[in-house]
């Protein structure tokens, strides 16, 4: 409830109900009391969580841990949703179990409306370049997009009859998407919100390279995720330019989302809020801290570090997550700089990433 209060205060435009650090340390104590691994992590640092007062002192759980063990404060069987990271050939996937997704949904909608729906005076039509939720029931991204679709569909009943998702069984419905975009551009009744993954956009651009339309004023596009071998990799600049051309959008209306299965909150490029391209903004209930890779301590603004993510909405798993994503804090937010390279391999001993990727 305390985490939800942060979200509700944000929606109401009210100040945060309590200090971030106060809830963070209480959450960390609660989680360590239920998840022995989190208590061991703190003990190994010589930390007594009962006396910790700053969120930054809470040890962060490496994202890889979610691939190897269950990190949940509640007994097995009580989960209502389980999100999994994208699959590999060994089918080793990170797992994030939720006892209740109400806080997740509230947080996703609240910050999505703030950063992605900013400036909209009417609810847009939605086009999704991702599978429908019934095809990806364990995808946190699919769940979030479905929440957006449900929220926006409430505004105009006819929209629910139109096709929304244009990826199914791993294939993009190129013709149907072309028709839908053409129709929405021609009618120009409402803005359009396009949601999709980077690799889906790349596949679509390759499948229909000459298509272009001019989406109605106020339209915007969200892109998220890396490529993970699912398509050719396209530099972010190039992809943004191509998407702007194809949809007839201004570059600042193409908004990158940064999220991960192990979290309950998302971050957005703040271009619709006035930041420069590439600067991501955070909700008041989550922070991205750049930490130095050796000691995992915060580095000053402007210095590159690894993203340590503190998420008050991660109530039933781990408040702090340590990623391998390189970030730099800048005025107004942070910039994503890609994944930190691993140590150069030596010898023929297999690396865990290779093993999980099933690359042999």
């Amino acid at each position: 409830m305390r985490a939800r209060a942060f979200v509700e205060a944000f929606v109401a435009g009210a100040p945060a109900p309590e200090a971030f650090d106060a809830l963070a340390v209480d959450l960390a104590r609660f989680q360590a009391s239920r998840v022995p691994g989190l208590a061991r992590l703190a003990t190994s640092r010589g930390l007594d969580l009962s006396s910790v007062t700053r969120a930054s002192d809470v040890p962060a759980v490496p994202t890889d841990a979610f691939k190897h063990t269950r990190i949940a404060t509640f007994p097995k069987g009580e989960e209502t949703r389980v999100f999994r990271t994208s699959g590999t050939t060994m089918d080793v996937r990170g797992v994030h179990a939720f006892r209740d997704v109400a806080t997740y949904d509230a947080a996703a909608l609240a910050f999505g409306k703030h950063a992605l729906f900013a400036g909209l005076t009417e609810k847009p039509d939605v086009v999704v370049l991702a599978p429908p939720p019934e095809e990806a029931s364990d995808s946190s991204l699919g769940h979030m997009m479905a929440a957006f679709v449900a929220e926006l569909s409430r505004a105009h009943a006819h929209a629910t009859r139109a096709q929304t998702h244009f990826v199914s069984q791993g294939a993009i419905a190129v013709e149907a998407l072309r028709e839908r975009l053409t129709e929405l551009s021609r009618r120009a009744e409402r803005p359009v919100l396009v949601l999709g993954t980077s690799f889906a956009y790349v596949h679509w651009l390759e499948a229909d390279p000459r298509f272009s339309c001019a989406l109605p004023p106020g339209s915007r596009l969200m892109q998220t995720g890396g490529f993970k071998g699912k398509s050719r990799e396209v530099p972010a600049e190039e992809l943004r330019t191509e998407l702007a051309r194809a949809f007839g959008l201004a570059r600042r209306t193409i908004v990158s989302e940064y999220g991960m299965t192990e979290l309950s909150s998302q971050f957005y490029e703040g271009t619709l809020l006035g930041t420069e391209e590439g600067v991501h903004v955070e909700p008041p209930w989550a922070r991205v801290v750049a930490v130095d890779p050796e000691r995992l301590l915060p580095v000053p603004e402007g210095e590159v570090g690894l993203a340590r993510i503190e998420d008050l909405a991660n109530v039933d798993s781990a408040f702090a997550i340590q990623t391998l994503d390189r970030v730099v804090r800048v005025a107004g937010g942070f910039r994503l700089l890609g994944r930190a390279p691993g140590a150069p391999p030596r010898g023929c001993s297999i690396a865990i990433d290779e093993l999980l990727a099933g690359s042999t």
Binding site: H68, A351, E354
Partner: protein
């Protein structure tokens, strides 16, 4: 394609290479050892241990017959070597000589010392040191990362016998002698600081978690002793970071004994989850499993990444190891018989035209 070579000729070649390698090891002077230390990243003692333990010294006729049967004849072979398991050059060269009348050896760029010295010592007109892989009518025998070997097949247009990355797994039963098991595991872990595909990275303990923990305590003590005799090699900052991050993962998954230089994690793995693993160093993940049936399910998840399986009991190893994996006694994982390549997975990568 060349015909298969006569056994006697191959045996002669193999023994010539082994003799040359043994002579190199025996006459190693300080300067040469220092250059190996620099190129391998191992400690001086680690280099000496690799030469003493893992360099092939002999082969029986039966082993050599098997060896020859595992070689695919070719007009020429280019051997592309990987870094760090420096003595691997000896077996790689005899495999190539058994396969073809012309052999080109491209040492690892980072770790060329042993391979260069061996080729020079052999002074065999059939063997040429090269800096680059040049396409010819034969094949490539490559050792190293999967992506590198795939690129070799793509760029040279030659078939590549791919000896890729992998790992070793140990199987321990509750009734095994704990002290002997811990000593044997430590012996296998210390050689090459786990940078070879024969190094055990995970051990499954068929028994209760308390038994696994007792073994872990003994193993940490053995690894500490080994550190005094054979100090670990140097670690790059990125390697140290990855080990520290793996330690955090291990702490979330289970208990970690030992210090940063030699850690043993005891983690129970739930059905459907995967075992964690430390990066190479001197670390082991010890997984208690309730039964051999559970163990087989775990092993299956590694697929062909599994290069060797070791235990104290040959029957147990034979019963549980997948067909392609080398089987060895604990303590001897780094001394595979000279009966073929170290890696028995027999993977050939074909160029795109095929």
């Amino acid at each position: 394609m060349s015909a298969r070579r006569a056994f006697a000729d191959v045996a002669k070649d193999v023994r010539a290479v082994l003799d040359a390698a043994a002579t190199l090891a025996e006459r190693a002077d300080e300067e040469w050892i220092a250059s190996l230390v620099e190129s391998t990243g191992l400690s001086r003692e680690g280099v000496a241990l690799g030469l003493r333990v893992a360099l092939e010294r002999e082969a029986t006729d039966d082993e050599l017959r098997l060896f020859l049967s595992r070689v695919r004849p070719a007009d020429a072979v280019t051997v592309v070597l990987a870094a760090n398991v420096f003595v691997a050059a000896a077996r790689a060269i005899v495999l190539a000589l058994a396969a073809a009348p012309r052999v080109y050896v491209r040492p690892s760029r980072r770790d060329p010392v042993f391979a260069r010295a061996l080729v020079q010592a052999l002074d065999d007109p059939r063997i040429t040191l090269v800096d680059e892989v040049v396409a010819h009518g034969g094949v490539v025998h490559a050792y190293g990362r999967d992506e590198t070997m795939r690129a070799l097949a793509d760029t040279t247009g030659m078939p590549v016998w791919a000896h890729g990355a992998g790992l070793g797994v140990a199987i321990v039963a509750a009734e095994d002698d704990r002290a002997l098991t811990a000593r044997a595991l430590a012996d296998d872990i210390v050689v090459f600081d786990q940078r070879g595909c024969l190094s055990p990275r995970i051990a499954f303990f068929v028994g209760d978690p308390a038994g696994a923990r007792r073994l872990a305590v003994s193993l940490v003590a053995e690894l500490d002793d080994a550190r005094a005799r054979v100090p670990p090699g140097s670690l790059a900052a990125a390697e140290a970071r990855e080990i520290a991050a793996a330690r955090d993962v291990a702490l979330v998954c289970g208990e970690v004994l030992g210090e940063a230089g030699a850690m043993v994690a005891i983690t129970e793995v739930e059905q459907g989850a995967s075992c964690m693993m430390f990066p190479p160093g001197r670390h082991l993940v010890l997984v208690p499993v309730a039964s051999e049936a559970d163990l087989v399910r775990h092993l299956a998840r590694f697929g062909t990444a599994l290069v060797t399986v070791g235990s104290a009991d040959e029957g147990r190893t034979a019963r549980l190891a997948p067909a392609w994996a080398r089987r060895a006694r604990l303590g001897s994982l780094q001394r595979p018989r000279l009966d073929g390549p170290v890696d028995l997975r027999d993977v050939w990568l074909l160029p795109p035209a095929h």
